[in-house]
């Protein structure tokens, strides 16, 4: 009798403890697109380290070993398959997560289109649509699909990973026609979104990560120009600090991960 009631109490205790730590209802929830590598993966790691609940999404997560490893390492990381160009999929995931408030929607997934495709005089027009669909329409559709989830949360932030390359005032050497157009377009829709959702208390951030050494910038790394690359860890560490401070009064501001403003 005594042993079974002791075991029963132990079991009950363990169960409650498990529920308490797994849901961690105090902790904010972040949904990250493009979490399989690069800064997306690093955002997942650093927010998970904080004990936040992460919904890490990627196009083919079953193939992403690093992301799978993170999910195995942290209880608070879950994975969803999500291609930001697949609007039906976005709607399905939004529906699946209907009761889940999302404190930060981090629109991180993006592509460069590759430098060699965007050289004036021999532009490869085939990549334009992909660049636009992923970099502009993706974040816009994600924002539409998850606005209620974000508005239902405490932090209410939609953060868009843009780039200094989208700054018209900063254009120095000619290159990356489609990529730059996509980031300028992203900046424009998000400036408008900031206005649109302000009365719901939702903050829309437009923040660039600076120059980071990941697969994404391999086109720049190849140039061997001794550019000041940050590691993903450095970039994301600073970026998260900027997100922390980015409030409703900042909504629609175009910043870099140092907190400085970019010119439009």
């Amino acid at each position: 009798m005594r042993l079974s009631s002791a075991l029963g109490t132990l079991l009950l205790g363990v169960t409650f403890w498990h529920i308490a730590t797994a849901t961690a209802t105090d902790s904010p929830t972040v949904l990250i697109t493009g979490a399989s590598r690069g800064i997306g993966l690093e955002f997942t790691r650093q927010y998970a380290d904080r004990g936040w609940n992460i919904i890490a999404t990627a196009r083919t997560p079953q193939d992403d070993e690093l992301l799978q490893a993170l999910a195995a390492q942290y209880d608070n990381v879950s994975i969803e398959q999500l291609d930001v160009t697949d609007h039906a999929e976005i709607d399905a995931v939004a529906k699946k997560l209907a009761d889940q408030p999302i404190d930060i929607l981090l629109n991180n997934a993006g592509i460069s289109g590759e430098m060699e495709n965007q050289i004036f005089g021999k532009i490869n027009y085939d990549v334009f649509d992909d660049v636009m669909m992923i970099n502009v329409v993706g974040p816009l559709k994600m924002s539409e699909a998850f606005i209620d989830h974000v508005a239902a949360s405490d932090m209410k932030k939609i953060i868009n990973v843009t780039s200094g390359e989208g700054s018209i005032g900063r254009v120095q050497f000619p290159a990356l026609y489609f990529y730059r157009s996509s980031k300028s377009a992203l900046n424009m829709v998000m400036v408008n979104l900031a206005r649109t959702v302000k009365d719901r208390g939702v903050t829309v951030g437009i923040i660039g990560p600076g120059l980071v050494r990941t697969d994404f910038t391999s086109y720049l790394q190849k140039l061997n120009m001794n550019l000041p690359f940050q590691t993903p860890e450095e970039s994301v560490n600073k970026y998260i600090a900027v997100i922390d401070d980015y409030g409703l009064e900042d909504s629609g501001s175009y910043l870099r991960n140092t907190g400085d403003t970019y010119p439009w």
Binding site: E144, S181, L186, M188, N192, W264
Partner: protein
């Protein structure tokens, strides 16, 4: 005497400069205008034809539009009508091939779409019709880039070497970060996208002596807006004559800048 010969030189220099300026002002040149069948494009075509320029007026209607037929009848020696859908890259390439070797002084990328005036929800957050996105980007951004690439040699071969694109302050961050009108997401995004693309293009073509100018025409009372009165609207005549003055005054050193029809420098 030293002063006499120097003043003589000065007079000669002034005469030469005036002569060159006069020459360049009155010398007939060639302009290609996209979306020339109505609105801003039509007014550009009319005014350049009246200045004695050769005008290659393009449109994408199945038949030559009445407006361009009338213009061509008025200026039979100098107005040429060509069919061109700026979203169709094969058509762009074919047209460039047709005009291969012919200098084109001025390329006016005017063809563009604004979106439905009655069904504004399709460009408003929450009811966005994402299937429209491509047409905005392909018409307002990709087409102009492709045309500029395709006709680059024609422009290089000319005297004036100018590329112009019709943008809009409605697509400027200056306006949108302060007081955006609701909606117009795709239109605004396409203007931001073309602005940065053409600033890059300006830098890419500088070495050829080409001047790229991004223009805001103002709020023009065009045919499409016949039933919509917007405060501050101006006539096509006023807008285009202003823009032409701006185009005429451009120097290669100012390539890649954004001006309105009054010649005022605009913020992105």
């Amino acid at each position: 005497m030293v002063s006499t010969s120097r003043s003589k030189q000065l007079v000669q220099l002034v005469a030469l400069t005036t002569g060159l300026l006069w020459f360049s002002w009155t010398e007939a040149a060639t302009v290609l205008v996209t979306g020339a069948n109505r609105g801003i494009g039509l007014e550009f075509s009319k005014q350049y034809a009246a200045k004695g320029w050769k005008v290659i007026a393009t449109h994408r209607r199945p038949e030559n539009p009445a407006t361009l037929k009338a213009l061509s009848a008025k200026y039979p020696a100098s107005v040429v009508i060509e069919r061109l859908d700026v979203q169709d890259h094969a058509m762009i390439e074919d047209l460039a091939k047709k005009f291969e070797g012919e200098p084109i002084d001025l390329l006016i990328n005017n063809a563009g779409i604004f979106g439905s005036l009655t069904n504004r929800q399709e460009q408003m957050f929450g009811t966005l019709d994402h299937t429209l996105f491509d047409s905005f980007m392909h018409t307002n951004v990709l087409g102009p880039i492709k045309i500029s690439e395709a006709f680059l040699e024609n422009i290089k071969a000319s005297d004036r070497k100018q590329i112009v694109i019709v943008s809009a302050t409605a697509g400027s961050f200056a306006l949108n970060s302060r007081n955006p009108y609701p909606g117009g997401y795709f239109y605004k995004a396409s203007k931001a996208a073309l602005n940065i693309a053409f600033v890059s293009l300006a830098k890419d073509t500088k070495r050829f002596g080409i001047t790229v100018t991004i223009l805001s025409p103002g709020q023009v009372k065009v045919e499409k807006l016949a039933d919509h009165t917007i405060p501050g609207q101006i006539s096509p005549e006023e807008s285009i004559s202003g823009m032409i003055r701006v185009i005429e005054s451009q120097m290669p050193t100012a390539s890649g800048r954004f001006f309105d029809y009054k010649g005022k420098s605009r913020q992105w």
